[in-house]
Symmetry: C2
Subunit: 267 residues, 2 copies
């Protein structure tokens, strides 16, 4: 069965798009069929793969509006990787969908209709907000991966995000669970970084999380170090593996891909 | 007259909150009366000043809802600095305000009602989106400052932001102009950084911008270098000047404060 993973953190600039692009490419390199879904009106994920989705081509907006299917909107990137691109009109989707019938399940329903595609993973890139679009992603997802940059308010933001995830699990999607937190742009030298990381690891290690959607979650062992090659590769339209396979960025995202497979394959 | 400045960039994590906090503190150190307005549901600006705005205290949500005035909601930080804090309920403001009478002018009207306060500057921290809240900020502002991190899609994001600013100027706020772009987390070593910076400087230097709201805009000479002290000071509830006055961060934001004053004072 297809595993749908939403990559979410309402804090801006923490590595969501970089993680969807490179974890997606990492899973595809292991011969797994992967579909990326760009839910951000900035369309950064789409643009990283040189998809200046012009407004005439079908996009994720049309999928959520119910006008086209995922297989119509998806663009093939290589043998095992495809993407449903976003366009700027995603900026008004909140207003356009609010009040419509079943607005929360638009993405879930379109993914159910796409079950016939040879896919093992769907990765969803979310905008930096906890609005209608993110709710759609959480209602459609099996798992959540949370990129996190050690920031003094990381724990506070995480607590709010987990609350939203619990609400979606209780009211919209009973199977939703948190797979884990991936530390991004990680720099070992700062004391601030070490303190935040200790807090986050402790939070997930504690038994107190029993009935929550994050009871089985961990902080991934694979950490994504700050590495300028990760900031450069998008401008070449390449994943880190094709841009610089010997970089720290490629090593870190390859390790994360293996760890995600290990956690999900054994169920 | 009070100058209202909106600090905006829909790209996440580029230094908006850090700029509002430290430019605000820098202007206040020059004995100018400054009010900070936190429009972000993450409340990061409020939390940086240890304002865990509890849901009972008046917040910016109540101001936009028309229930309280700015002077009621504002909390004094020091002799020349106050803040209108945000709470988590700002996450639903888009839905709550949509369709209400005059929703675009809620902030503008509350600032007009606050004209009697001894203020010279109002700085507005915006969420990473171009939605209803950002439109409110642009409808209320005289000037816009755009923090920008050299990123391969910085120019593309900037173009979208400038289009939104033009639309607001044409339909909601005829006096809106762009003061400038401030380069944040600037690291001189990367080629990517240099190329993006050249593109952005060239864009604003060109005469082609004649009738636009950004015709008079420039890239500020003062550049904010990447400096870990800027990421640390918020966890101590201090501005960079009180946390580490000898740091690069303090020097850079002091220079930016002087440059902003120079640009605005001579009108
Ligand atoms: N490990 C890393 N090392 C260095 N730079 C990185 C790393 N990860 C991401 N970046 C850079 O940091 C910036 C933010 O990353 P990214 O755009 O992936 O974050 P995001 O969470 O998707 O942002 P948004 O909230 O705007 O959607 C980008 O310029 C990206 O290239
Ligand atoms: N010049 C700098 N040097 C080092 N770190 C910085 C600098 N400016 C900001 N930071 C850090 O980078 C992160 C992002 O900055 P900040 O939160 O100000 O961005 P933002 O644009 O307000 O983000 P959001 O889009 O989530 O509102 C924070 O952890 C902040 O402490
Ligand atoms: Mg992104
Ligand atoms: Mg911010």
């Amino acid at each position: 069965a297809v595993k749908t993973i939403a990559v979410i953190n309402q804090k801006g600039g923490v590595g969501k798009t970089t993680t969807v692009a490179n974890l997606g490419a990492g899973l595809a390199r292991q011969q797994r069929g992967v579909c990326l879904v760009d839910l951000d009106s900035q369309s950064h994920l789409s643009l990283q793969f040189n998809l200046e989705a012009d407004d005439d081509a079908p996009s994720v907006y049309d999928v959520l509006a119910g006008d086209v299917t995922i297989s119509t909107a998806a663009e093939r990137l290589d043998a095992h990787l495809c993407i449903v691109p976003a366009t700027a009109d995603m900026a008004s989707i909140d207003m356009d969908l609010a009040g419509q019938n079943n607005w929360q399940y638009r993405l879930r329903d379109s993914l159910i209709a796409a079950r016939h595609l040879p896919l093992e993973f769907v990765l969803i890139d979310c905008p930096p907000a906890l609005g209608l679009v993110t709710v759609n992603a959480l209602a459609a997802a099996d798992e959540v991966i949370i990129p996190l940059q050690p920031h003094f308010l990381a724990m506070q933001g995480l607590a709010r995000l987990l609350e939203t995830i619990r609400e979606v699990r209780d009211h919209l999607n009973p199977r939703l669970t948190v797979l884990g937190v991936v530390l991004c742009m990680y720099e070992t030298v700062t004391r601030l970084g070490r303190d935040v990381v200790d807090d986050v690891r402790e939070f997930f290690a504690s038994d107190a999380n029993g009935e929550t959607p994050w009871a089985g979650a961990t902080v991934f062992d694979s950490v994504i170090r700050r590495n300028i090659r990760l900031a450069e590769c998008p401008s070449h339209g390449l994943s880190i593996f094709d841009y610089d396979a010997r970089s720290n960025g490629a090593a870190d995202y390859a390790a994360l891909s293996r760890e995600v497979l290990q956690r999900l394959d054994t169920g």
